[in-house]
Symmetry: C2
Subunit: 555 residues, 2 copies
């Protein structure tokens, strides 16, 4: 089979103006970025304000494994499938970060015949949103250090600065740095560090903001440091909330692109699903709900991380609750959860499949616990045997959950038509969505709810530091915010090696980080990587551009 | 009078497709970035290959002073004036860096009624070129540090890494940093520093490259470090020249915008005029030469820095030599050169004007020494008295040099019509351009030529370090490159306080920096600032965005 980039370069891209027409946007409703990308200004939401909101489907997955699940691919193929069936559908996806693209082969625009185009642009600089966030984040840092240098009128304690700088690269050497060296004119020496841009609170803020006014208000309350007497210092205190919002003027507008089959897709915002909430922007989803009859959105990592956060954080900012959940699983990945090594995945192994099914089962029950109808998308691989497929279907049906075999990588939308048809039936049911926890619960209760009801853990332990921070959060009046769990994506537990459905484990919350602009409290469990490193042979070594500007080696 | 941003927001912007039509570009020849910006792909140069090159005018100035000269404003107004006279003219300008925009009020898109639009976009993220350069520069750094971390196969000496990281911000705290701290998994500890992005060699390379192949070749030979046995390590050695060129795919395409009067302008590339050559991209100028009858381009700082470098560095990459030089001067600035303080500039002072004229005179003679016809643009300010204007005109005419009174800030193109008419006459003369020095001269001879023939200095002293580096440069076979002087912009000398036309001074070259990708050897004199700081009250404090996304406080 052809590579993703070959398939994408052979695709018949339509001018984005034509794609826009499919969702009733004329040329004045969009801002072109080349022929195949466009931004949708916020005025469009107002223009279509009286449109009813369409149906909203969340695509999530089992805990990811090195075998790959194909969640984005299924999301893209599913949107294509709905359109094939005559239902006006759009997908809303996250923007890829450049760092991992340059480091480890693998894009974020689907694959095979279920791709979003133009994939080179989307995976590189796209429309500049992430660069704007990098700039905004680092401008805050520069203003903060300048305030220290210019007499420190805000009484900032340089040891209590929590705001880090960012770059959209994998660069481990910048995780821990000392800055302000070189004498009086070169700043105040202090410890600092760089995260990858998608870990910036500004990315989370951009993805949760609903207007320019809301953006500015959220930026204004972001905590960047503490004073010597332990009072929070915000971007508003630095006096630059307006300037930082200004830098995000265009970044706040959702980006319109297309699938290989010409389905309109919004790709906008890409916060980490560990340190942040891992969902595309609220504005993109709101816009799609107004313009399409069915919107399909995807959350990062598995249903325990991105899925839970979509339901408990993002949904609170949306005009409507989700109507159904698709859980993507593969036989390969379930066999890994059942204890099979990566090299033995092509060998039929029914007992391992059954053992690994425990992971899928818990995710199904979790999503059902929100009152949502669930369907399993079994994303087919060539190595899956008939017996394995039949086994998985039987196991799922035994739970009274519908299941559909998808093959969108090879077949595009045709490979998800059955899934779309079954979903259309599910969408006729009235969902009775409710959040996992009320905002009024204490921070500790909210975390316990997630750990015991979603992760299946026994209990939560808080470090002394986390307990102290919990008191500070309450004293500051922030206790009514939802929690954003930072946990390994590979396991329900905080131990990446405990696959399938571990039980009786404890989760230790070692630190709480208030993200007041984003509007959640991050609970750190274990080590969370906020600046990835490069591998020994980075993917970039194979990337190239020829004399005509044609790119190769990018996936 | 209205502010620049008010004038710009009231202007009647035409769709950029209309502006493109004026220079015979159809909608397939441009890539839109919103309605008012477009990129011109490199294929357009091929398409118009058989067009003859138009005339090329360089706009430069006296040594800048805090009084302001208005070089960009005159450049923009002059292009408008030519079009008013029925001559198809374009301007080619540098892109502004965001750092200074956020720090110190003042844009780079002209002023008053001689502005390039949309000024907010151009002064903020524009089409993302500078962000792409930031990313490319820092990707090189990440790959370099990753190579160190992964067993150091290239034998790089961490103490001899010359490649710095960059951000497009004013951020003094990042000038000197220690990175790679925090233990084994977090890199190799070493000293590092951040420059502002426009000081990156990649910016210089982008501005001098003539094709994707040339871009990649230049990137490939950029020296980033030395080995323990003092051999140069390049981006090519890191194996990522193709990937880095790929990151610059769109950034290499010139950007088309318009003046308030609808004149097409290319704004592309903005290297520092101290550490680098200070001119817009060769591709922008080449493109304009094919599309217009007259191209007006501007070089950074005064004629001793940006002017000299345009003629001795940039011109060597152009298909044709310049045809005439405009030197912009103001009575205010010349009075400062004559010893008047900033607060006394509104008082008539003929003796000071005459004393300060020495600065203009030397610049005129310098530009004439290249065999080029010269005209002085006297950029009028309200405080100029009739006697002062008459005096300056008389002094200039005594040198047999034409002079024109301009007032483009208030009048737009109408304020430079006389200048355009006089230039049209000058352009009928055949210029006999020749470079200041042949490339075959030694590095030391080339520097001496610049210092004695352009700066008017007595001699050059090289530090021991510079002498050693000169030998290394010769040994590496780089001695045939032009030199790029890094000197204060405020004086002909390396002492910023020596105004007008100092004599008998010595210049000390303290260090030579080979920029092999750009294709020049930087000669550092005095301290060169490659990362500016923020002032006590940054301009950003006044910037804001309202609910409808309208920007205020940006100039």
């Amino acid at each position: 089979m052809k590579t993703d980039i070959e398939i994408s370069q052979e695709a018949d891209l339509r001018p984005i103006t034509e794609i826009a027409e499919k969702i009733d946007l004329n040329s004045d409703d969009i801002e072109l970025y080349g022929k195949y990308k466009a931004k949708i200004p916020l005025s469009v939401l107002k223009k279509f304000d009286t449109n009813p909101d369409g149906k909203l489907i969340l695509v999530t997955s089992i805990n990811p494994t090195p075998a790959g699940e194909g969640k984005s691919t299924v999301t893209v193929g599913l949107a294509d499938a709905f359109n094939r069936l005559g239902t006006k559908a759009m997908a809303a996806l996250r923007e890829p970060s450049l760092g991992p693209v340059m480091g480890i082969k693998g894009g974020a625009t689907g694959g095979g015949y279920a791709q979003v185009l133009p994939m080179e642009d989307i995976n590189l600089h796209f429309t500049g949103d992430i660069h704007a966030i990098t700039t905004a984040n680092n401008a805050v840092a520069a203003f903060l250090d300048n305030s220290l240098q210019q007499g420190n009128p805000l009484n900032i304690d340089p040891r209590r600065i929590t705001w880090k700088r960012v770059l959209d690269l994998n660069d481990r050497s910048l995780r821990h740095v000392n800055i302000g060296l070189g004498g009086v004119v070169n700043g105040i020496p202090r410890e600092d560090g760089f995260d990858i841009t998608v870990a910036s609170e500004i990315m989370a803020v951009l993805c949760l903001a609903t207007s320019y006014a809301d953006l500015k208000a959220r930026l204004s309350v972001i905590v960047v440091a503490n004073t010597y007497d332990r009072k929070a210092v915000t971007i508003g205190d630095l006096g630059v909330a307006g300037a930082i919002a200004m830098l995000l003027k265009d970044a706040l507008k959702p980006n319109l692109v297309q699938t290989i089959e010409g389905t309109p897709v919004l790709i906008h915002g890409g916060p980490f699903a560990n340190i942040a909430h891992g969902c595309n922007s609220v504005l993109a989803t709101k816009t799609a709900l107004k313009l399409a009859d069915v919107t399909i959105t995807e959350a990062g990592f598995g249903a325990d991380l991105g899925g839970e956060k979509f339901l408990d954080i993002t949904t609170r900012q949306l005009p409507k609750n989700p109507d159904a959940v698709v859980i993507v699983a593969t036989i390969r990945a379930l066999k890994m959860h059942g204890g099979v090594g990566k090299k033995e995945l092509t060998t039929e192994n029914l007992p391992a499949l059954e053992a690994g099914f425990a992971n899928l089962k818990r995710h199904i029950e979790n999503m059902q616990s929100y009152g949502l109808p669930v369907i399993v998308a079994l994303n087919q691989f060539a190595s899956d045997t008939v017996a394995e497929i039949e086994k998985l279907i039987a196991l799922t049906k035994a739970l009274n959950v519908p299941v559909s075999l998808t093959n969108v990588y090879e077949k595009g939308g045709a490979g998800a038509q059955d899934l779309a048809e079954k979903l259309a039936d599910l969408l006729k049911e009235k969902s009775e969505f409710h959040y996992l926890y009320p905002l009024e619960s204490s921070i500790s209760e909210k975390i316990q709810d997630v750990v015991t009801k979603i992760y299946g853990g026994k209990s939560v332990t808080f470090t002394v530091k986390a307990k102290r921070q919990m008191k500070e959060i309450e004293a500051n009046g922030w206790a009514n915010l939802p929690v954003c769990m930072a946990k390994t994506q590979y396991s329900f537990s905080d131990n990446a090696t405990l696959l399938a459905a571990p039980k009786d484990f404890e989760i230790t919350v070692r630190e709480l980080v208030p993200k007041i602009g984003a509007g959640f409290i991050v609970a750190l469990t274990g080590d969370v990587m906020t600046m990835p490193g490069l591998p020994k042979q980075p993917a970039a070594l194979k990337m190239d551009i020829d004399e005509d500007g044609k790119i190769s080696g990018l996936f």
